[in-house]
C-alpha cells in the first residue's frame, strides 16, 4: 500500500562525484520490494514544487530502513543532498511494480545490467536473488570512474564488471561491449538505465526472458495524471502503459523503444 510518511534521516553520505547515499527510517519500508521507487518531496516550501522519483537501492526491514542513491544535479536533488542525520524527509511510497525476483529458479543465473543512476535498484534485486540461491552477474556502465559506486557491494554478491565510456575504469565503451566479449551464460536478464541501453539489450537477447525498468517525467506518481505514459508495442492489449503505476519495470518487449 502507498503511504506518505515523514521519514527520519539515518545517514547521508557522498559516495562518488555528485552521487549521494541517503538512508531513511520509517514504517513504509515494510512494504518495499526491489525495483519499486519512492516519490520524495525535497522541501517544505513551494520551491521546488514537484516530488522527485527515486529508486529503492537497499531494503532493511529488520531496522525499518531503506537506502536511495541519487545524483545531486538539478534543483530538487541538490536540496535533498543537504539533509542531515535526524532531519525529516516527506516520502510517498513504495510505488509501482518492481522486478519479479522469482522469475529465476533456485540455482539459476541472472544477468543484471545497469547504467549510471539506473544501477541503484539492481543492488536490492541482487541481494534478494542471492538470498533465493540465484547466481548473479553484474555489468555496470558509467560515464567515468569518478561517478562509479558500490563496487564492493556488488562484488560481494557476484561476478561484477565495470564499463566506462572514457575507459577510466574497467572496460572502455558500453555495457554491450562486455556482453559481446564475455558472452555470459544466464537464464533471465534485468536492467535499469538510459533508453539506448535498454534498447540495445533487447536487441542483444531477443530469445531471453528479460525485465526493464523505465524512467519518465512524473506529475502525480500514482497513475492519476497520465504524465508518464509510454507507448506499447502492438503485441499487447493496451496501447499505452504508465511508468509510475504499471511500471517502472516491464517485461522485455512491452514498451515501444
Amino acid at each position: 500500500m502507498i503511504r506518505q510518511e515523514k521519514m527520519t534521516v539515518v545517514s547521508q553520505k557522498q559516495i562518488a562525484t555528485n552521487i549521494f547515499e541517503l538512508t531513511l527510517h520509517g514504517e513504509l519500508v515494510q512494504d518495499m520490494t526491489p525495483g519499486q521507487f519512492v516519490h520524495v518531496k525535497v522541501s517544505d516550501s513551494l520551491e521546488p514544487l514537484l516530488r522527485r522519483p527515486i529508486s529503492i537501492a537497499n531494503i532493511d526491514k529488520d531496522n525499518n530502513e531503506f537506502t536511495m542513491i541519487y545524483r545531486a544535479e538539478g534543483r530538487g536533488t541538490k536540496v535533498l543532498a543537504t539533509n542531515r542525520e535526524g532531519q525529516l524527509v516527506n516520502v510517498l511510497g513504495p510505488i509501482g511494480n518492481g522486478f519479479p525476483v522469482d522469475a529465476v529458479k533456485e540455482g539459476g543465473t541472472a544477468l543484471l545490467v545497469g547504467g549510471g543512476i539506473g544501477v541503484p535498484p539492481l543492488h536490492e534485486l541482487s541481494k534478494q536473488l542471492n538470498a533465493r540461491g540465484v547466481k548473479t552477474i553484474h555489468v555496470l556502465g558509467f560515464q567515468t570512474e569518478d561517478v562509479c559506486f558500490y563496487e564492493e557491494e556488488f562484488s560481494a554478491l557476484g561476478e561484477t564488471h565495470y564499463v566506462t565510456v572514457d575507459g577510466s575504469k574497467g572496460t572502455k565503451g558500453f555495457v554491450t561491449n562486455v556482453l559481446a566479449s564475455r558472452a555470459p551464460e544466464f537464464d533471465v536478464f534485468y536492467s535499469c538505465g538510459p533508453l539506448p541501453m535498454l534498447k540495445a539489450l533487447e536487441g542483444f537477447y531477443p530469445e531471453k526472458e528479460g525485465y526493464l525498468s523505465f524512467e519518465e517525467r512524473m506529475g502525480c506518481g500514482i497513475g492519476a495524471c497520465f504524465a508518464c505514459v509510454c507507448k506499447t508495442t502492438d503485441q499487447v492489449a493496451k496501447d499505452y502503459v504508465k511508468v509510475c503505476s504499471d511500471g517502472p519495470v516491464f517485461p522485455k518487449g512491452t514498451v515501444a523503444l
Binding site: I2, L46, E47, E216, G223, A224
Partner: protein
C-alpha cells in the same frame, strides 16, 4: 461538518473542496489513499466521445512554484468512462462533476447527453478551455458568440446543470463569462491553465514535446483570484474557483473573491492528501475569522 455545506445548482456539497479535472483521474488511485466520500465533489478527467491517446512525452515540466502540462486530454472515451469509471465511483457518497470535451459541437452534445444520465453525475463541466489540443475546445472558449451557442446546444440535451470552465487565455474573461451566462450556463468554473513554455537550458528548445503547455500551481493563483473577482461582479451564476490552491487560506481567498466552492489541482501531486487536509483545517480558519458558516465569506472582498 455542517459549517462547511454549500448548495449549488445540482450539487449538495458537504464542503466546498473538490479535486480539479485532470489532476485526480477518475478517483481510483486516490481511493487507495483515503475515503473519497470525504470530498465535496470530484471533477473527473476530461471525457471525449472516442478514446484519446494524448500528446507525446515529456508532457510535464516544473516551473517556479508551478508546472506546465500538455497531457492532451488522454482518456478512455465515454463508453469506458460510463461503464467502468463512473460505476467504480458509485461506491462513494460523493457527487461527480463530469468534464466534457470535444472537437465540434456535436461531440460535446453527444458526451453531455449520455454522461448526464449517469446516476452519480450531478453536474457537467464544459471544457472549452484546454490549451493543449487543437480540438480541446479552446476555440469555443475564446469567442463569446461561439461559447454561447455551445452552451445553448448542451443545455438543450443535458439532464443535469451545466457549468462552463473558462480559459484565462483571453483578452476579456468577463465577456466570455457573460456570454455563457446568457447561453444558460448554471455556473462557471475557473480558471483552466495559462499557456506557457519552458526552454531546456542546454538545447534552448522547449522541454515539453508539444512545445507549449498549460501553467498551473501556486504561481497562477494571483491571476486566478483577479479573474474570479472580476467575473463575480459581472455575472449572477455561481463560480467554482481554482488555480494554485494548496492550503486552507487559499480557499478562503478564492471564496472571498467570489467563489462558492474551490477546486484543487496540481497540489494533489505534491501532497496527495491535500484535499482532506484542507477540509479538516477549514473550521479553525472560520473560527479565526469569527464566521459561523463558510458561505458567509463568499464575495466578502466586494462588500
Amino acid at each position: 461538518m455542517s459549517r462547511l455545506t454549500i448548495q449549488l445548482p445540482g450539487l449538495e456539497l458537504k464542503n466546498p473542496i473538490m479535486p480539479a479535472s485532470g489532476c485526480f483521474g477518475f478517483g481510483r488511485e486516490y481511493a487507495q489513499l483515503y475515503d473519497l466520500s470525504k470530498l465535496g465533489a470530484i471533477m473527473i478527467k476530461a471525457t471525449t466521445v472516442e478514446t484519446r491517446p494524448g500528446n507525446p512525452t515529456p508532457r510535464v515540466a516544473e516551473t517556479a512554484a508551478g508546472m506546465l502540462n500538455a497531457i492532451g486530454l488522454q482518456n478512455p472515451g465515454i463508453d469506458k468512462v460510463m461503464n467502468e469509471e463512473l460505476k467504480f465511483l458509485e461506491d462513494y457518497d460523493v457527487p461527480i462533476i463530469a468534464n466534457v470535451a470535444g472537437t465540434e459541437t456535436a461531440d460535446y452534445v453527444e458526451v453531455a447527453q449520455r454522461i448526464s444520465t449517469a446516476a452519480n453525475v450531478k453536474a457537467l463541466e464544459l471544457n472549452i478551455s484546454c490549451p493543449n489540443v487543437k480540438c480541446g475546445g479552446i476555440q469555443f472558449g475564446t469567442d463569446p458568440a461561439t461559447a454561447r451557442e455551445l452552451v445553448e446546444a448542451v443545455k438543450a440535451v443535458s439532464e443535469v446543470p451545466v457549468y462552463v470552465k473558462l480559459s484565462p487565455n483571453v483578452t476579456s474573461i468577463v465577456d466570455i463569462a457573460q456570454a455563457v451566462e446568457a447561453g444558460g450556463a448554471d455556473g462557471i468554473t475557473m480558471i483552466n491553465t495559462l499557456i506557457g513554455m519552458r526552454l531546456d537550458e542546454r538545447t534552448g528548445k522547449p522541454v515539453i514535446a508539444n512545445g507549449t503547455g498549460g501553467l498551473s500551481g501556486p504561481a497562477v493563483k494571483p491571476v486566478a483570484i483577479r479573474m474570479v473577482y472580476e467575473v463575480y461582479k459581472a455575472v449572477n451564476i455561481p463560480i467554482i474557483g481554482m488555480g494554485g490552491v494548496t492550503e486552507a487560506q487559499d480557499v478562503i481567498d478564492f471564496m472571498s473573491a467570489g467563489a462558492s466552492a474551490v477546486a484543487v489541482g496540481t497540489a494533489n501531486f505534491v501532497d496527495h492528501f491535500v484535499c482532506p487536509t484542507i477540509i479538516d483545517e477549514l473550521p479553525a480558519k472560520l473560527d479565526k475569522l469569527g464566521v459561523e458558516h463558510i458561505s458567509e465569506i463568499i464575495g466578502r472582498s466586494h462588500r
